[in-house]
Structures are given as structure tokens and as C-alpha cells.
């Protein structure tokens, strides 16, 4: 088994578990927010159900790519697509946090750099936690450019 298959297999399972938690909480079922046990991870906020569905789909794409074999270009594409989905959710999540913080109100107009940096700290949503690990998929892109 290739190293990248093990890597994306593990990532797929992890993203899937987080997606499942998000869907369950998004449906309003009484499941505790993991922030209480895992300080860096929070599963809360608006559109939780949709974000959970996207995470579950990304997870399925990772696992499908691993099952097909990541030596195949098509499977690499599937994994890359899953990563793109994670980046979309993570990117918009971070953007929302940043843009909510930057305006400091009519007296201040711009929040201090400390306040702005603070919102980039934990706890993070599942997509933000997973997004850096998904960057490995860029290797498939750079491999192609090298050829």
C-alpha cells in the first residue's frame, strides 16, 4: 500500500467522523460539542448540517480515491476534489471569523492586531482542523506540472 493511500485513508476516516458529528448536531440531536473534551475543536455555528454533509462527502471522496488506488490519475482527482471541498468550507469559515472581527465599531473602526490575531486561534471548526492536512493533495498537482 502506498504511503499516500494510508495518509488519505486516515484523513478520510477522521474527516468522516467530524462530518458525522456535525450532521448529528446539525439535525438538533443532543450530542455534546467536542470542545469540552478536545479544546481545539468545536462543532457549532450556522449551516452546521450543510457543513457536515460537505465533510462527509469529502471523507467519502478520500476513501473512494484510496480504494481505487492513488497511482491512478482519476483517483488522485477524486482526492483533490475532496480537498477542494474542505478548503472551500475552511476558507469561508476563517474569512467569516476575520471579517466579523476587523471592524471595531464606530469609535474604533479597526480592531487591534491582537484582537484580529485572537480570532485565528483555537477552537477551530472541523474543516479548519482538516484543511492543512488536505494540502498534501497539492502534491498531485505539482507532480503533473513537473512532468
Amino acid at each position: 500500500m502506498r504511503v499516500d493511500e494510508v495518509y488519505f485513508g486516515v484523513l478520510g476516516v477522521a474527516v468522516g467522523l467530524m462530518g458525522l458529528l456535525a450532521v448529528v448536531r446539525g439535525l438538533g440531536l443532543a450530542l455534546p460539542n467536542p470542545i469540552s473534551t478536545l479544546g481545539v475543536l468545536t462543532i457549532s455555528g450556522t449551516f452546521l448540517l450543510w457543513r457536515g454533509v460537505i465533510l462527509l462527502s469529502a471523507s467519502a471522496f478520500y476513501l473512494q480515491g484510496v480504494v481505487e488506488g492513488l497511482d491512478r490519475r482519476n483517483a488522485q482527482g477524486t482526492v483533490f476534489l475532496g480537498s477542494l471541498m474542505l478548503w472551500i468550507v475552511a476558507g469561508t469559515d476563517l474569512l467569516a471569523r476575520l471579517l466579523e472581527t476587523i471592524p471595531g465599531g464606530s469609535e474604533q473602526w479597526l480592531a487591534s492586531s491582537g484582537e484580529i490575531l485572537a480570532v485565528l486561534g483555537p477552537p477551530f471548526s472541523p474543516s479548519v482542523v482538516a484543511a492543512p492536512f488536505a494540502l498534501s493533495a497539492l502534491a498531485y498537482w505539482s507532480q503533473e506540472n513537473e512532468q
Binding site: 449551516f47 482519476n74 482527482g77 477542494l84 469561508t92 471579517l99 476587523i102 473602526w109 503533473e144
Partner: protein, 594 residues
């Protein structure tokens, strides 16, 4: 080529004509990575040997037998221009189809130059075209171009005066094996023309085996339902999240405090003659504490136009431009094709629909690429009734963010339900079409910025005056007593059927001018949450804004007649208002919230 003759850019849709036009003429018109960007012609000047020569970018056409209004425009230009030089723009990755159109144009005796565009993509895909031999075979100049990068544009400009005409018979004579030896080739024989194309392609193009790139794989995966639909959900989520974050950043972060804490108190105290009609008209309520409630031209009008709608439009147009240029819109069209077929349309109706989320006016104009009067009527009507524009969405997000998603969903369901009904009762055909799916491309920053600036400029020129005028007209009607009279007249319907208070009448009047303004005005009315949702849905579907209405009249002329198009649209909106609006109230009653 005579110096005064015009240059026509012709070719299939989405082969880069608009990009080439921008490069040749130094103009700024929108380029997009999907067919049907150009539904109207664009004219500019090209400097050729220090002489100005008119250059015209016409809509894409597959042949000289028009299948829709946009194609008719293109062919109309070809036939009406005196001795034009025709630049046939061909997608070098799929040369054979473009060549068929070239032969048709040559067969009619026009002087032609060929631009083999997307040359870089052709090389990447292993398509190797011997351009010199192609020029020999056709007897017209051929130049390789990459319009988006500007490659080959100078070469193209330098050979425009060598444009040539060439008969099909002479082309046939130059081919290695003579096609249809005993027949006379004419443009009326499509099969014979295709034979010539095949022979030319065989002799000038070599195809090398290449592995599909990651980009090709992604392109395939985004149109396969199993992978494409989850990805579409992610993209649409991303669009909505980006839109609400950016619009909220400007509006809630800066414009609300700017207007509410500084501008409004200042103008309320500084403007003279409080209590006069002029004060009421321009400043509005002197005791209002926020800019939505004041309702003067210089308070609410300015705030809605600049503080709420402009940021929303900016965010939405930016993300739409990225989607358009990446080629993803065309993929959404494929994914939604089955759903659109149920309402008598096909997937490419997504293009006017997506444009309508920016503004209904270009959305209605984009229906020209649809094939039949029935399809155009259905799309125009459904867009103008059920699709909220970006400005309206922006105000909804600002005032009732918790309900905006549900309202949008309810309107989209209405779009398809009423589409299915109209498809059954409106006579006419809804043919299947085969369209190209463009490759996925990295959006060009310069084009995105240009497109954004053109659209924002258009918004500032057209929408802002309507918002300000809308506030002024409603205030004048207030002063004249017309609003109170209308409120009394419509009270039974508003309360009895829709369950909303009569105070919503001014918003309905403002909605004639701008829907965003109408929703802003609703915020000043004291209502329950359900009444707010109900009245926003009513304003959304009850009548298109005046600019959209004008476009309906314009497009209706060539889509079955004004009476049919506008009358049908009005009948639909009345039915939609009472049935779809009434149904929402029933749902509210069942849920115990109405």
C-alpha cells in the same frame, strides 16, 4: 481589404471571441468561460495602418442557419455589413467544428482570416496543427493565437489586410484526395462540407496520445452526479458564505455605524426646516434612530443604495465572475439539466438564472441564447418572478439573516413548481440541445477585475438613481395621501389573504422601483417574524422592478410578442403571488406561526 470595411469576429460560442476583441481593440467587454457570454454585439475601433477600422464582436454561432436569437444577431451582421473582413475564431482543440463554419462563410464569398485560438490548450492536449498547410489548403491566412494571454494578436492584426476569399471548389482542388469527385460542392450540402472538413483535418492535424491532466479529471468529476452534486453543494455553500461574510463586513461593520451614528444624526439636526415637506422628502422621520427607518432620500435611500446594496453586489459579482471564468457554471448546467428538463428548459438556463442572482436585467437578456419562444418566455417569466437579485438578497441578509436562506429556498421551489405548470400549459417546443462543456481554467485576475468594475459601474449608473427616486416617490405619495388610500383599499386582501398589515403598502409601491428598497422599507413596519417572511416573499414575487419590466418588454418583442411575453409574465406573477404567497400562509398556520 478596404480600409473602411469592418472586421467581424465570428465563431462558435466560447472560443474566445470576446477575449480576442478586447486584445485587438483594447476594449473592456466581459469574457467568460461558458457559451453565450455575448448575446448582443459590441463595436469598437481597431487601428490598422493608422486608420480606424470598425471591429465588431458578434454572438457565437454554430452555423449560418440561426437556431436562436443570438445566432440571428451574428448572421444578421454578416449579411448587413458591406465587404466585411471576417476573422473566424476557431477553438484549436476542436478544429473540425470550427472549420465547418469557416467553409460556410467562405462559400458565401466573404474575405476571411482564421485565428486558431486556444493554441496553448491544443498543444497541451497533443493536438498538433500545421497552420501553414491549413492556410494553403483553405487559401486564407491562418494565425495561432492565445487570446487570453495576447499571444499571436499582433500577428493577427498584421495579416488582416491579407484576408482572402476562397471557393469550396478551389479548396477541394487543393486537397490531397478530391472530395466528391463528380459533384459540385456548394454550401447547401452539409454532408459534402463535412467531407471536406474531414479531409482537411486528416491532412493538417496530428493527434498525440496524452494522459488526461488532473484538471481534465476534475472537469469530469464535477459533471458526474455522484461526485459533482456533493461538490456543487460545497461550491454553493461557499458562494453563500462568502457573500454573507463580505456583505456583512462592509454593511454591518462599517456602513451601519457610519450612517446610524454619524450621518443620520448629523443630517437630522443640520437639515433646515424640520417639519416641512422637503425635510420629510429628503431626511424623513426626524426621530428615527437608524437609517432603515428614517426613510428619506438622503438617509434610507443613500444608505440602502451605498451601504447595503453596493457591498452585496460587489461580493456576489466577484464570486460569480470567478465561477464564470473557471468554467464551473457550465458544469452546474450539466448537473441541473435533468431538473430543468422537467420545466421545459435545459441545463444552460442556469446561465440566465445565475446572472439574475446578480441582477434580473442581464438575466432576462441572456435568455436570447435559448432556442424557442416557449423557452425564452418560461425563463424570462420565472426569473423575473422568483429569482431575487443580489441587491435584494443583500438587504434580506442585513435585515433578516435568520430567514434569508429559507425565503430563497421557498422561491427556488416556486421557480420549479410554476415552471412545471407553465411547461404544461404554454404551447411551443422545448428541444434538446447539445452544448460544449468548456475546460476548467484558472480565472484571470485582470478579467475578473474588469468584469467586476463594468458591472459595478452599471449598477451605480442604473440602480442607485432608482433607489433614490423610489424613496422620493413613496414619500411624495405619502404627502399626497395616496399611500393611506391604497392601504385602505388593499387592506382586506393584505390582511385576509396574506395576513400582513396594511402598513406594507408603501413597500409594495417602492417595489415597483426597487425590490431591495421595498424590503428595506418593510423593516420599519412592526410585524411578527412570520409576517416579515410573508411580506418579503410577497415583495419578491409580486412584480418585477421597473428595469426588469422594461427588459421584459424589450425581449418580449422578439420572443413571441410583447403582449404574450409581458401579459403572460403578469398573469404568472398574479397567480404566483396569490397561490404561492397564500400557500406560505397556510404553511404558517399549520406550523402555528402565522
Amino acid at each position: 481589404m478596404s480600409q473602411s470595411a469592418s472586421v467581424l469576429l465570428m465563431g462558435h460560442p466560447n472560443v474566445g471571441k470576446s477575449a480576442l476583441f478586447n486584445r485587438l481593440a483594447g476594449a473592456s467587454i466581459a469574457e467568460s468561460n461558458y457559451p453565450g457570454t455575448t448575446v448582443e454585439y459590441t463595436k469598437s475601433q481597431l487601428r490598422l495602418n493608422n486608420e480606424p477600422v470598425p471591429i465588431i464582436d458578434v454572438p457565437g454561432t454554430f452555423s449560418l442557419e440561426p437556431k436562436d436569437r443570438a445566432e440571428s444577431v451574428a448572421i444578421g451582421f454578416l449579411e448587413s455589413e458591406v465587404n466585411p473582413t471576417v476573422v473566424c475564431v476557431i477553438d484549436a482543440t476542436r478544429i473540425e467544428r470550427g472549420l465547418n463554419l469557416v467553409l460556410e462563410i467562405l462559400d458565401r464569398g466573404y474575405e476571411v482570416v482564421i485565428a486558431l485560438n486556444m493554441w496553448d490548450e491544443a498543444r497541451r492536449k497533443g493536438v498538433d496543427i500545421d497552420a501553414d498547410m491549413l492556410a494553403d489548403r483553405l487559401g486564407v491566412p491562418v494565425v495561432q493565437t492565445v487570446a487570453t494571454e495576447g499571444d499571436g494578436v499582433d500577428d493577427l492584426r498584421s495579416i488582416l489586410d491579407r484576408a482572402n476569399s476562397s471557393s469550396l471548389a478551389s479548396i477541394t482542388d487543393r486537397l490531397p484526395s478530391k472530395v466528391h469527385d463528380d459533384s459540385i460542392i456548394t454550401g447547401d450540402e452539409p454532408a459534402a462540407r463535412w467531407d471536406i472538413v474531414d479531409t482537411i483535418v486528416e491532412s493538417v492535424v496530428t493527434y498525440q496520445e496524452t494522459d488526461p491532466s488532473l484538471s481534465d479529471q476534475l472537469g469530469q468529476l464535477t459533471i458526474a452526479p455522484k461526485t459533482g452534486l456533493p461538490f456543487a453543494i460545497a461550491v454553493l455553500y461557499g458562494v453563500w458564505a462568502f457573500f454573507s461574510s463580505v456583505a456583512g463586513f462592509f454593511t454591518d461593520g462599517y456602513f451601519v455605524p457610519l450612517f446610524d451614528d454619524h450621518w443620520l444624526p448629523w443630517i437630522q439636526s443640520a437639515f433646515p426646516a424640520e417639519g416641512s415637506w422637503l425635510y420629510f422628502l429628503l431626511v424623513g422621520d426626524p426621530t428615527a434612530v437608524n437609517s432603515f427607518e428614517a426613510f428619506g432620500v438622503l438617509t434610507s435611500g443613500l444608505f440602502v443604495a451605498v451601504g447595503v446594496v453596493l457591498p452585496a453586489i460587489l461580493a456576489l459579482y466577484l464570486v460569480l465572475a470567478l465561477l464564470e471564468d473557471s468554467g464551473y457554471i457550465a458544469r452546474l448546467a450539466v448537473l441541473l439539466d435533468a431538473a430543468f428538463h422537467r420545466i421545459g428548459l435545459h441545463g444552460y438556463a442556469i446561465v440566465p438564472m445565475v446572472l439574475s442572482f446578480g441582477c434580473n436585467v442581464p438575466g432576462v437578456a441572456a435568455t436570447r441564447t435559448l432556442e424557442t419562444n416557449k423557452q425564452r418566455f418560461l425563463t424570462m417569466t420565472l426569473l423575473s418572478v422568483f429569482i431575487p437579485c443580489g441587491a435584494q438578497l443583500g438587504v434580506m441578509l442585513s435585515l433578516i439573516p435568520q430567514y434569508a436562506g429559507y425565503i430563497l429556498l421557498y422561491l427556488l421551489v416556486g421557480f420549479f413548481v410554476f415552471g412545471a405548470v407553465l411547461n404544461r400549459i404554454v404551447p411551443g417546443s422545448a428541444p434538446e440541445v447539445a452544448v460544449d462543456i468548456p475546460p476548467l481554467r484558472r480565472p484571470r485576475l485582470a478579467n475578473v477585475i474588469m468584469k467586476l468594475s463594468v458591472r459595478i459601474r452599471g449598477f451605480m449608473m442604473s440602480a442607485v438613481p432608482f433607489v433614490l427616486a423610489g424613496v422620493g416617490i413613496v414619500n411624495l405619495l405619502y404627502l399626497g395621501g395616496a399611500v393611506d388610500w391604497l392601504a385602505t383599499v388593499f387592506q382586506p386582501v393584505l390582511s385576509g389573504w396574506f395576513g400582513v398589515p396594511e402598513e406594507t403598502v408603501p413597500a409594495l409601491i417602492a417595489g415597483f422601483m426597487r425590490k431591495d428598497l421595498a424590503i428595506a422599507q418593510l423593516s420599519a413596519v412592526s410585524m411578527s417574524p412570520f409576517q416579515t417572511v410573508m411580506s418579503v416573499v410577497m415583495v419578491s414575487i409580486y412584480f418585477p422592478c421597473v428595469a426588469t419590466f422594461a427588459m421584459l418588454i424589450k425581449e418580449g418583442r422578439t420572443s413571441g410578442g410583447i403582449i404574450r411575453a409581458v401579459g403572460g409574465a403578469l398573469a404568472t406573477l398574479v397567480a404566483a403571488l396569490f397561490i404561492w404567497g397564500g400557500l406560505l400562509r397556510v404553511i404558517g398556520i399549520i406550523l402555528g406561526v402565522a
